[in-house]
């Protein structure tokens, strides 16, 4: 259909199209952001191919090997300014970020190189990657294995041969063995010795408490001393076991050659995993990928949080959110029921309703400040004075911790629950209530048996939204209890099992901390994306379920209103 341009503009349809474009842009932004996080977050675990190449820049040549992590185009003018000898006639050059690993050898594990300056590129089959407990990844060729300093196996070439594979399998077996010992060691150190230390600390507090109370009965002190001697003896015994284990742990060493030809030795105790990325079949890669994701979800962080897993952060987040919902649900519901069912509907109630509504819009950092001042310093300080004088001057509850964090977030999210529950209550038709009352039920019975069950999906929606908000909130937590690395989980086997006074790790704060406070941002970045993906997935799931419940609810009451 032919429409003249003036006619088209006059009708206003360009504006309509522009408005449609705004919606399209918003959609693209959301989807794009989610896919960016997803791609970067999930891509990290896939074993990337190792590239070896000769790199020549300004006359210096070196052999390097590693994973190409990122590629970008840079204006040649910028490079010329920086003193790089760029061939004439080029406007742009491709620049690659290569993860060369071997931080203990080369100093930094990421370097930027110009793609055009690389030559003799190949993907050596026998180059292996080792994830280590310190110094980041190692890339190189396996040259031999040592046991107690004596060479037990070695190999020289660069080709894939049976001999090399035999050495490789020997290497893998030894890694298995060392990892096994590592597990035993960490069991003892974290578990048993941790428990002993915890008991010793409790004994110290008990003694101090007796002293403070002015108890002079020496038998009670003696009791404590006996127990302490017992624990110390246990500790000594464990120490011996540990020594033996460590000896076995440090037994094996691997000899490897880097791409540049340098030979180094690495204790197997430092190796978490070793693999041949260029020699893996698709099945191997998938297996590797799954095991890496599992490690990410279930392990503790290594190397200043830049490697390993985020289990403590997941655990801390879940713990905090659970405590928060335990607190927020009853209070939010009671407040909503009071406002809707019991309070006299008038100006004051309206005012309160507006106030509660608006509190949801108060910046979260304000809640953090309130939590720090009121809960931590005021309430916590008084609790310490009253109940934990023996621990002073070290604060017990007078310092940011799990309980105060949950309480602060409960306060932050209680308006969400109140608003959602109230909305649910207001949707219940009057006739239902009247029916119940007409049958002789009291107001409370009506509420308990009729109204609340009908409003329960609304409450659920409120609680889910509250949880989603709490899980993603970081700013207030920074003030009231989150730390970058908590030594232990807030829930363990030591009495009283749930340690409300402990500081904890949190997914959101982990993202902030690793992404911005980490010494090695480049290495940490993929992990931050993965963490972000996890957080987004959890929150999206919670929100979508809340939306689903709400829609279901609306359908249900549509039928009732008929």
């Amino acid at each position: 259909m032919r429409v003249s341009f003036t006619e088209w503009t006059k009708s206003g349809s360009p504006w309509v199209w522009l408005n449609a474009g705004a919606v399209a842009i918003c959609m693209i932004m959301v989807i794009g952001l989610l896919s960016l996080i997803a791609v970067r977050g999930l891509g990290h675990f896939w074993p990337a191919d190792l590239v070896q190449a000769k790199y020549t820049e300004n006359g210096n040549t070196m052999v390097m090997a590693g994973e190409i992590v990122e590629q970008e185009m840079v204006p040649a003018a910028q490079l010329r300014d920086a003193g790089v000898n760029v061939p004439a006639g080029m406007d742009f050059m491709q620049r690659d970020l290569v993860k060369v690993g071997n931080r203990d050898v080369g100093g930094s594990d990421f370097i930027w190189v110009l793609d055009a300056f690389m030559s003799e590129r190949n993907q050596p089959d026998m180059m292996f990657a080792a994830e280590r407990r310190e110094w980041g990844n190692f890339y190189g060729y396996l040259r031999g294995l040592k046991e107690n300093g004596k060479l037990v196996a070695s190999y020289k070439g660069y080709q894939k041969t049976d001999e090399y594979m035999a050495l490789w399998n020997n290497f893998q077996a030894r890694i298995e063995r060392t990892l096994d010992i590592h597990d035993q060691i960490s069991d003892i150190e974290k578990g048993t010795i941790g428990a002993i230390n915890y008991k010793l600390e409790r004994l110290r507090l008990k003694q101090r408490s007796l002293e403070l109370k002015g108890v002079t009965d020496q038998s009670r002190y003696a009791e404590i001393d006996d127990r302490r001697v017992e624990l110390n003896a246990e500790y000594q015994a464990l120490q011996q076991t540990l020594l033996d284990l460590y000896e076995g742990f440090n037994r094996d060493t691997l000899v490897a050659e880097t791409a540049a030809g340098q030979t180094i030795e690495i204790s197997l105790g430092k190796v978490v995993r070793a693999f041949l990325p260029n020699n893996m079949s698709l099945g191997d890669k998938v297996g590797h990928y799954v095991s890496k994701i599992w490690e990410f979800m279930s392990d503790e962080p290594r190397e200043a949080n830049t490697e390993g897993g985020i289990f403590p952060a997941i655990f801390g987040t879940v713990m905090m959110v659970m405590l928060m919902s335990v607190m927020v649900t009853p209070f939010g519901v009671v407040a909503a029921v009071y406002l809707r069912e019991y309070a006299k509907q008038g100006f004051v109630t309206r005012l309160i309703r507006i106030a509660v509504n608006n509190l949801a819009g108060v910046p979260s950092i304000v809640y953090g400040v309130f939590g720090l001042g009121f809960f931590v310093y005021f309430l916590g300080g008084n609790i310490d004075d009253l109940f934990f004088p023996e621990a002073k001057p070290a604060p017990t509850f007078g310092t940011p911790g799990l309980m105060w964090a949950s309480l602060t977030l409960a306060l932050l999210t209680v308006p969400v629950v109140i608003v959602a529950t109230e909305e649910g209550l207001s949707r219940i038709p009057r006739s239902v209530r009247e029916g119940s009352l007409a049958l002789g039920a009291t107001k409370f019975e009506t509420l308990w048996k009729v109204v609340l069950p009908m409003a329960s999906p609304a409450m659920m929606t409120g609680v889910i939204l509250a949880i989603a908000r709490a899980a993603g909130e970081v700013a207030p937590l920074m003030l009231v209890g989150v730390v970058k690395l908590a030594p232990s989980l807030p829930l363990d086997l030591n009495y009283p099992f749930l340690h409300l006074d402990q500081k904890f790790m949190h997914l959101g704060f982990h993202i902030y901390d690793v992404g911005f406070q980490s010494p090695n941002v480049e290495a940490a970045r993929p992990l931050v994306y993965a963490t972000a993906l996890l957080l987004v997935a959890v929150i999206a799931l919670l929100n979508l379920s809340a939306i689903a419940i709400r829609n279901h609810l609306r359908e249900k009451y549509k039928a009732l209103e008929m």
Partner: protein, 758 residues
Amino acid sequence: MSIDNSSHIQDLDFNTPAQQRLRKIRKAKDQFARGGIAVGGISVIVAILLIFFYLLYEVAPLFESAKIERWQQDGQEVQSYALPGGGKTLYMTMEEQAEIGLRVNDQGELFFFNTRNGEMLLQQKHPLTDSTTVTSFTLASEESRTFVLGLSNGQALVMKHDYKATYPDGKRVITPEVVYPLGETPIDLSDGPIELLALNGEEGEWRMVGGTEANLSVADLSLEENLITGEVEASTDIQALPKLNLAANKLLLMPDRRWLLIGGADGKVGVVDLQAANGPQTTQVIDATAGQITDFTLLLGGNSLLVSDTKGEVSQWFLVRDENAAWVLTKIRSFDGNNTAINDLTIEHRRKGFATVDSQGTLRLFNTTAHRTALEETVAQGNVDGIALSPRANALLVENRGQLTLWAVHNEHPEISWDALWAEVWYEGYEEPDYVWQSSASNNDFEPKYSLMPLAFGTLKAAFYAMLMATPLAICGAIYTAYFMAPALRRKVKPIIELMEALPTVILGFLAGLWLAPFMELHMAGIFVVMFTIPLGILLFAFTWTQMPNRIRFLLPDGWDAAILVPVVICATLFGLWIAPGIESLLFGGDMRLWITNDLGIAYDQRNALVVGIAMGFAVIPTIFSITEDAIFAVPKSLSYGSLALGATPWQTLVRVVMPTASPGIFSAVMIGMGRAVGETMIVLMATGNTPIMDINIFEGMRTLAANIAVEMPESEVGSTHFRILFLAAFVLFLFTFMVNTIAEVIRQHLRNKYGSL
């Protein structure tokens, strides 16, 4: 047929004892629940309101004025006591705990006494030869506790009062002592009596200026510890100063040992540069006051000069570099004292404050930074001879007619005033008054700069750029979604927008800081080109689409335009990024980023307001979108049908009928979005450099109130001024957002009531 009324069914008896009991229980339960729910509900609401009052409670002490009262000891008021030791007081001070006082008299005697009752603890006099008398006294600085006595034989003796705390039986006992940092032998400074004297320095390096008005000399003293014997050896280097052309009463040496300040007769102040190129030289003689100078002291840190006079005025001066890069002693501000001559002035040891007492016995406490009179109170009848403040500024000794009185001073936050928070302040070392936020530094004599202006400015700047990005997108999107979009598509779009609202801001902030900021630095031109290509692309596509034969156009159902635009927008973006390098080399010489810095001269930070604008815009879009969408959707359909029936196009109907009706709702949406942008913490924290600067430049960062709290709160000392100011910042945020939201909410409710009936 008749109905048999004589029923065989037994009448139900509702009044059996069991039923009665049950009813009672049910009633009790009902009452109990009513009470419980009321208590619970009210307490939750009270708890929420507590936030407001608690913040206020923490902030309130900032604005309390100072108080003084007589010192209380064991519930008893401490009485005045006779001046310990005889003679005229040259100097009086107290130690850290304000338990022990020190008085130096004009015979060179030192008296350490208990400040509570005047009991003498230690009395010390340096053995001087019979004929020598003390002719002058000067203090290096309060915090160094070092002072000098100038003697009639041309010698000077440097002393320091020191205290040791021991804890026998768990009780604190403080023992005073006198040490001689430059040795017990007086230093030969001049031939004649030392009438004028000044000293400054630290550890091993000291400089002393002394002598008579006509004959001043400078002595540089350096101490070296002999590594083998551990003995301290002092070496002295004495030079004569040229004669002053000013009748001098008092000298002061600034801590850099370069500037000598002279307090002269008739309110004149002279400045001597001891390190001028051609030897010491008087650079300035100023009429500092109209009256006579009564006290002449350096403020904490030694950078500011305080001059008090017989007219009751105290003025603060410091060296400011003028346009010729020469240092000029400049009057910064003055403090009024009711036209009564000031008898004594003493500075605080830890803060930029001081106390004065006038000839009518009125004590005043001032703070220089805040330009604030914290207290004005009469402490004695008539003339007061001298006052001394304890290092913690919590105790004050007043000497009056041979009697000493100890007062307790409650002056927690003198450095705060309305001007200090919101107006330009001339800080020490600055060339002009400025708004600065700098809350802490490593040294003790630092002048804290608590101007909230840069933070408030940064907050509004971030919010402004975020709104600039979010408002058009959100409102246009909402208009389309509510008014033109097909319901099936709308059901898919709304959850996505809700999901967008739920995205944790820490994720947006991290992407903005780690992905968007570097991306934008690299594709600066691309971003701006895309801003044009997207709307152009959309319009171009739309017009082409209109020209299509109906057969093709009708393939797309009504209200699905947005869906078909998704690939168009993506293509336009990619196209924009693709042509950007060409445009960049054409217009900006190959690199727009360099062009901005070099040719435009605009500072460029990688994490700047543009990044924050986009990231925070993303966070604000869903808030505005949802509320706007609701407002437009709530406009009764009958209104638009009427308009359409009269022949208006859909766009005309929207603009003339629907939008005016929904405009209060849209306004409240923008307000709520604004509230969210103002309080957002994580995005700003991660996507800017957090530098508290005041500059509207889109390529520079900022620090917002919220981010500032997040950065500084964990390190701030509980109960300190800094701590309370952070609470004040939180309170300001709270009030702002609460008010904005309330207005928006009231408007929305009004709107709902108005159209609810239609």
